[in-house]
């Protein structure tokens, strides 16, 4: 059974997150691991070469399909895409030198130094590491075998192994990390042949992780962890003030505080509106009575706008509307710059209903507003 990359993803928007977690979450975990693959460095180097190509492939696939989730978060989109783009921008090989690793064991020369990485240098090496670590059982059997021949056959066997892993975990969320892992192995087979040419493959060093890779449970759990870490990163960017905090517990604290404050604000605002309400009720009722049911279904702006206008007509006063830059589609300058009563008056309607400065008459407004919304 071939683990196609696409077939296991539940929703395209999560590819990015999973992949990010897949790649970056290892960083935290691997700092402490001691490395014990002195004799395997050569093989590891080759696989890391191949893995880099797979990374690029993985990145290019979710890129266009990741719009739905990130489109929701318009701000985090840019951040998320930044996180994505940092590996994406390097099609050609990148040299991740041993600066990544504290023990700094570099066994091979670095011929492919084409571009500098903007993203953390641990990026590719972590992926290669995970990939290698996940194939650790494979290595146990093929320690000294020649790279090219043994690895393809063993990878296919291992892909089966990887797939059978977390039967007990959640079906969808974990299947994709496993798919990722399986796919990376598969791509290594493909990349294996190109390893000799190697100009396009990044050159990374892989360190095996000690004692953990063999267990299927730990692999699944690690994949889960990485997914969670990727999402936590997005959350950190969303919640103000979380960027500087390190440590999941503190970040969660901030997030909880933020959500609580948001909910409290909703309560407060609804209380304010309730206090104000009778007027609105009155206006709404009168409006509903005045304007027939044609307004009910589709032209809420029209209903809302006349809500404001009767006030003006009744009071005979003019208000100055302050422009509120609300990111509405086609937001123009607000029309009614009249003699001011309230310099800080911010009307919802003004923001909502962008109308041209030329149209000043009250009668024109509702129609315009209806059209524009």
């Amino acid at each position: 059974m071939v683990l196609a990359l696409d077939s296991h993803f539940r929703a395209s928007e999560f590819r990015i997150l999973r992949f990010l977690g897949f790649l970056e979450g290892i960083k935290a975990g691997t700092e402490f691991r001691s490395v014990n693959c002195g004799d395997k460095t050569q093989e590891i180097g080759v696989e890391s070469l191949q893995f880099g190509e797979e990374i690029q492939r993985l990145i290019s696939v979710p890129q266009e399909s990741g719009t739905s989730f990130t489109a929701l978060l318009e701000l985090p989109t840019t951040q998320a895409m930044k996180l994505l783009h940092s590996p994406e921008s390097h099609e050609t090989p990148v040299d991740l030198s041993g600066e990544v690793w504290s023990n700094g064991r570099i066994d091979r020369p670095k011929p492919y130094h084409s571009q500098s990485f903007t993203c953390p240098p641990t990026f590719l090496s972590n992926t290669a590491l995970l990939e290698h670590a996940s194939r650790f059982p494979l290595f146990a059997t093929t320690e000294n075998s020649p790279e090219t021949s043994s690895i393809p056959s063993n990878s296919s066997a291992n892909s089966h192994k990887v797939k059978q892993e977390p039967v007990d975990s959640d079906s969808n969320p974990d299947s994709s990390p496993i798919a990722l892992k399986g796919a990376t192995k598969k791509s290594k087979n493909v990349a294996n042949e190109a390893s000799e040419d190697g100009e396009k493959l990044p050159y990374v060093h892989v360190r095996a992780r000690r004692g953990q890779a063999t267990d299927s449970h730990s692999l699944a759990e690690r994949a889960r962890r990485e997914k969670i870490n990727a999402r936590m990163k997005l959350l950190q960017e969303l919640v103000p003030g979380c960027n500087k905090i390190s440590g999941t517990a503190m970040v969660l604290d901030e997030i909880i505080n933020h959500v609580q404050s948001l909910q409290r604000q909703v309560e407060l605002l609804s209380m304010r509106l309730a206090a104000v309400d009778p007027r609105i009720d009155f206006n709404l009722d009168s409006l509903l009575a005045a304007e027939s049911g044609s307004l009910m279904d589709s032209n809420f702006p029209g209903v809302v706008m006349p809500l404001m206008w009767p006030e003006e007509l009744v009071n005979g006063s003019r208000q100055q509307y302050q422009q509120q830059p609300w990111h509405f589609d086609g937001l123009h300058q607000p029309v009614c710059m009249r003699e001011e009563d309230n310099p800080n008056f911010i009307t919802l309607e003004n923001s909502l209903l962008s109308y041209d400065s030329s149209a000043n008459s009250a009668s024109l407004q509702p129609n315009q507003l209806k059209m524009e919304l």
Binding site: A71, L72, L73, E74, L75, D170, P173, R224, K227, I228, R231, L235, L238, T248, A249, L252, I255, I256, H258, V259, L262, Q263, Q265, V266, E267, L269, S270, M271, L273, A274, A275, V276, D277, R279, I280, D281, L284, D285, L288, F300, V303, V304, M308, E311, S317, Q319, Q324, W326, H327, F328, D329, D341, F345, I346, T347, L348, E349, S351, L352, L373
Partner: protein
């Protein structure tokens, strides 16, 4: 950049529907009842603006539909989609309940625990950290509607979505509140 304006627009439309229904239905409501009705219509409007794609919105709608007092309001806000959305919400809530129960049973029955051999200091630190995180996750689950039935990763996703929706909701509500207050001062 704040929440997308498309969400705000959708929310506003639905909310105004709800407000109109609120105001037209009852004449003499106390402040508290009015506030509750406003908040409820806002929440349901926000949840339905999500079109029941997210877990928290489904849970919110399901909770709101349970109460018979709110049924009319909820129905109107949900609009044409109301039947389908309600079914989806209630269905998902029931599935979630089953899932939660079965997870608990599984946890209790599964006594095997992998033992990690680490230095004593590290064991202490990591277990403390885990406990802290777990506590906070529980709190977060109680905050996000429908959070009880989610695992960690989906909980974080839902929190993300929920935070953005809340921000949009607050933005719209604040503007309306400001506007109406200024009007009332006239």
């Amino acid at each position: 950049m704040g929440p997308p304006s498309s969400i705000k627009k959708k929310f506003l439309k639905k909310w105004i529907t709800g407000l109109q229904i609120c105001s037209s239905s009852k004449e003499n409501m106390s402040l508290f009842e009015r506030k509750k009705a406003i908040k409820l219509s806002a929440d349901v409007a926000m949840a339905s603006a999500r079109n029941a794609t997210t877990c928290w919105s489904r849970a919110l709608i399901a909770n709101a539909s349970k109460d018979d007092n709110n049924k009319i309001l909820v129905d109107h806000i949900l609009g044409t989609e109301s039947e389908r959305l309600k079914k989806a919400s209630i269905g998902s809530v029931m599935c979630n309940n089953k899932r939660v129960r079965s997870k608990k049973i599984l946890k209790k029955s599964c006594s095997f625990r992998r033992v990690k051999k680490m230095a004593p200091q590290m064991v202490l630190a990591s277990s403390i950290a885990k406990r802290l995180v777990k506590k906070r996750t529980l709190v977060l689950k109680s905050l996000v509607p429908g959070g009880e039935a989610m695992d960690e990763s989906s909980l974080i996703e839902e929190t993300l979505d929920y935070i953005i929706s809340l921000r949009a909701q607050i933005d719209v509500m604040r503007r309306l509140a400001n506007a109406s207050e200024h009007l009332n001062l006239k």
